[in-house]
């Protein structure tokens, strides 16, 4: 076990660091309101960045060269994303497609039509979104109701999805539908990929509490999908869901954001009578705890990658990693605004430290505890799959989907 860069890794790090510095997009050129994620300006800059990476062999580093990757190692991939983060690049557009959905599609489909979607995704020409959750099916991800009914070579889709990150900016989606409501709920699901401009499909942005429109509702009114865009077998969509969620846990383990060093910068910038907040023993304790959790989360990410690189499915430590991350992020946002004192209420791009990034984190972290599996669901996973405790009494097990109580 070695967490220091080996000489080759250090050389790789030095190489990508200087390449990133020389090639990265300059967001300062954009109008202020277009520098934010989920705006067209930001998205286009990141699209360009993905193409630049792809040309230089830095997109999908671990994928084989034939599939558009660089044939590199997991460690190289991690080093590259660490350096990207360090360079201030925040790109939420491609992770869903490249780390979660495309790998799932490739696991189940090897037909030319499906595989044709891979290269443009790698080059950043096509953005993907995940169309799983529904109004009555979030934590209970097998409880979905969007129906797909076979009609010759096509399927007719009717229903609604919700909380779909980036759907308004996406070109393609991976959709899970119900094909047999008379089977128990996990058994009657089928997955498809589809173009987001397919007739009958409508995306409506949802404003989140932070004020952005990352999330969306997606409506399906007799949307037609050809059968050759089905992913996996009919009524075996649950396997696709599980594969995607496994990929998601692994991907989540890597994403970053404000962390202990940003908090130390903030602490050092806030004056006290005889120094700065950095001199406050209570704050120093906070930093130490924050560091331990942030590091643990990063290292748990390595354990997941170790499993993946050995060809094993990532274990439930992913749940621990996500819980640690969501907890520390809300704690960080809360502490940051508190240490500013009454001034912490100010959320202004000029007046607030880091242009209000800490206030933004304070608001956004509430969603982090929900998206990608809630805190409570992650704890259930740990209790049941790691500790072997019995599951909750299930009233929906083995029951035809139609007969499950739903509260409305």
């Amino acid at each position: 076990m070695n967490f220091e860069d080996s000489p080759e890794e250090a050389a790789y790090r030095a190489k990508v660091r200087s390449w990133i510095a020389a090639s990265k997009p300059d967001l300062q050129e954009l109008p202020v309101d277009q520098r934010l994620v989920w705006t067209d300006g930001h998205k286009n800059a990141m699209r360009q960045w993905q193409a630049t990476k792809s040309d230089a062999g830095y997109a999908c580093i671990t994928w084989s060269k034939e599939s558009g990757g660089a044939g590199g190692t997991q460690i190289e991939d991690v080093i590259f994303s660490q350096e990207e983060t360090a360079a201030g690049i925040h790109d939420p557009y491609y992770i869903t497609g490249l780390k979660m959905l495309i790998p799932a599609i490739r696991k189940f489909n090897d037909d030319p039509k499906s595989l044709a979607r891979v290269p443009p995704a790698v080059r950043g020409e096509e953005i993907w979104c995940q169309l799983f959750s529904e109004p009555a099916s979030g934590s209970d991800s097998a409880g979905l109701r969007t129906m797909a009914v076979r009609d010759g070579d096509e399927w007719a889709i009717n229903g609604q999805k919700v909380w779909n990150s980036g759907a308004a900016h996406a070109d393609y989606g991976l959709l899970i539908t119900r094909t047999d409501p008379d089977k128990p709920k996990h058994k009657g699901l089928t997955a498809f990929w589809l173009k987001m401009d397919t007739p009958g499909l409508e995306v409506r942005p949802i404003k989140t509490m932070g004020g952005d429109s990352e999330l969306n509702e997606v409506f399906f009114d007799d949307v037609r999908i050809p059968d050759d865009q089905r992913v996996g077998e009919v009524d075996d969509g649950w396997s696709v869901v599980i594969t995607t969620l496994m990929n998601e846990r692994a991907a989540i383990g890597q994403s970053a954001g404000l962390t202990w060093s940003d908090m130390m910068d903030l602490g050092a910038s806030v004056p006290t009578d005889d120094g700065t907040v950095m001199d406050d023993p209570a704050f120093r304790d906070f930093i130490a705890d924050l560091y331990v959790d942030a590091e643990a989360r990063r290292l748990i990410g390595f354990r997941i990658l170790t499993a993946i690189s050995r060809g094993e499915p990532p274990g439930p430590e992913g749940s621990a990693g996500k819980l640690i991350w969501s907890g520390l992020t809300q704690g960080l946002g809360s502490e940051a605004v508190d240490l500013l004192g009454h001034y912490g209420i100010v959320q202004d791009s000029e007046l607030s430290p880091r242009g209000g990034a800490f206030q933004q984190r304070f608001l956004w972290s509430a969603g982090l505890r929900i998206g990608g599996g809630t805190d409570e669901i992650q704890k259930n996973v740990i209790a049941e799959r790691v500790l072997g405790l019995p599951g909750d009494v299930r009233v929906d097990k083995g029951v035809p989907f139609r007969e499950i109580p739903s509260g409305r």
Partner: protein
């Protein structure tokens, strides 16, 4: 709750002959019920949303007028200064209801902070001149203390009071755009002073700043030789401010209790109605225990606030300790209730359209208003040390 300590009667420490009735009296309860009914009609959450979506308003004018009509602004202001002198416990009861309704009005700034400053530190003429308009709600006041990031410090105060004028900048000033008067903490050649200033007068420029809780606006206020007068005749402004803050802490803690209760009720209602895996989510222990934890913090906040109300209404020497505990308990209860309310709601709790984030925002707005809980923890421990030292010295002398 028969049997636990009337806020109206003294629940002093000695225990000699104290009536155990630690609750609102029947009259106070009636007032509180009436306030709840009134606010259910006058201040549904759509009113807060109206201000959130149009933050340039800073507050809801019509609601403010209706609240003023009820006489609430003068609840704790003596009749001699145009108030109704219902009493402090009554004001606390109203604060609890305003907190529960998330009323988007400058009540906390004008009443708990500005009016308390004038009552506590002002001269007789100042009280007579200023308080009647505050009590009737025709004038709005605020307290301008903060100048920049970090804990309040006399050493770093830059706003100066010299020759009857004020110069410098305060940021943020709660309700600073809608107030017409302010009490300002400033340094003078005699040390820190509390100073009264007319915000509509010369030498004052203000600009709205966006904050975590747009339903209670804030401003950046610059003074340039703005005419001002000292509040009261003498007294160290920083010391006075601490005593005013203690009073405001108790009143704010009631708003926090009201907000926490409401957030818990929302979460409970949703947990009953939302199904996952074929069962109401409230049937999962993860949700039950979460909401039970919130309930416990709310109860801690409630009893701490009650003791604070008693100390405030009876000018008890226990006020500094009781106020600090009420503040700490109120901050932690409202934060927990607000964030776990979102969590219980899942995705819908994270949306702008849902109401959960109002509470999340308001909990932090109130939690930072007179300095964060961490500053009050330091104050509380200091005060406990002093109290214990005094008790020991008394014991030795006896």
């Amino acid at each position: 709750m028969p049997g636990i300590a009337g806020l109206s009667c003294k629940a002093g420490r000695g225990g000699k002959g104290r009536t155990l009735n630690f609750d609102y009296t029947d009259d106070q309860k009636a007032l509180k019920d009436e306030a709840r009914r009134f606010l259910a009609d006058a201040s549904p959450l759509t009113v807060a949303r109206g201000v959130l979506d149009n933050p340039e308003q800073g507050y809801d004018k019509e609601l403010w007028a209706r609240i003023a009509e009820q006489g609430w602004c003068g609840a704790a202001i003596p009749e001699a200064y145009g108030g109704h002198a219902f009493g402090y416990v009554e004001l606390c009861a109203l604060a609890e209801e305003l907190g529960r309704a998330l009323a988007p009005v400058p009540f906390a700034s004008s009443i708990y902070q500005f009016a308390e400053s004038v009552l506590h530190a002002g001269s007789e003429e100042q009280k007579k001149a200023i308080l009647p308009a505050i009590a009737s709600g025709t004038s709005i006041g605020t307290l301008a203390v903060t100048e920049g990031p970090g804990a309040l410090s006399v050493k770093r105060l830059a706003v100066r009071f010299e020759n009857g004028t004020l110069t410098g900048e305060k940021l943020p000033v709660a309700d600073g755009m809608v107030a017409d008067k302010a009490v300002v903490l400033a340094v003078s050649s005699n040390g820190p002073r509390l100073v009264l200033v007319d915000l509509t007068g010369s030498g004052v420029t203000r600009e709205a700043v966006s904050t975590l809780d747009p339903t209670r606006g804030a401003a950046r206020i610059s003074f340039e030789n703005a005419p001002a007068e000292q509040l009261g005749r003498d007294g160290d402004g920083f010391e006075l401010l601490q005593r005013i803050y203690d009073r405001a802490a108790v009143l704010l803690s009631f708003e926090q209790v009201g907000g926490s209760d409401r957030a818990l009720e929302m979460a409970r209602d949703y947990a009953l109605e939302r199904y996952a895996f074929g069962r109401p989510i409230g049937s999962y222990q993860a949700i039950k225990h979460k909401l039970a934890d919130v309930f416990i913090r709310n109860e801690v906040a409630r009893v701490s606030a009650y003791l604070g109300a008693w100390a405030l209404s009876s000018d008890a020497s226990e006020l500094p300790v009781a106020a600090a505990s009420a503040r700490i308990a109120g901050c932690s209860a409202f934060w927990l209730a607000a964030k776990e309310n979102i969590q219980t709601h899942g995705g819908i709790g994270f949306t702008w359209e849902g109401d959960c984030h109002f509470f999340y925002r308001r909990s932090r707005h109130l939690g930072l208003a007179i300095g964060p809980a961490k500053e009050w923890k330091r104050k509380l421990t200091d005060r406990l040390e002093v109290q214990r030292g005094a008790a020991r010295a008394e014991g030795k002398a006896a």
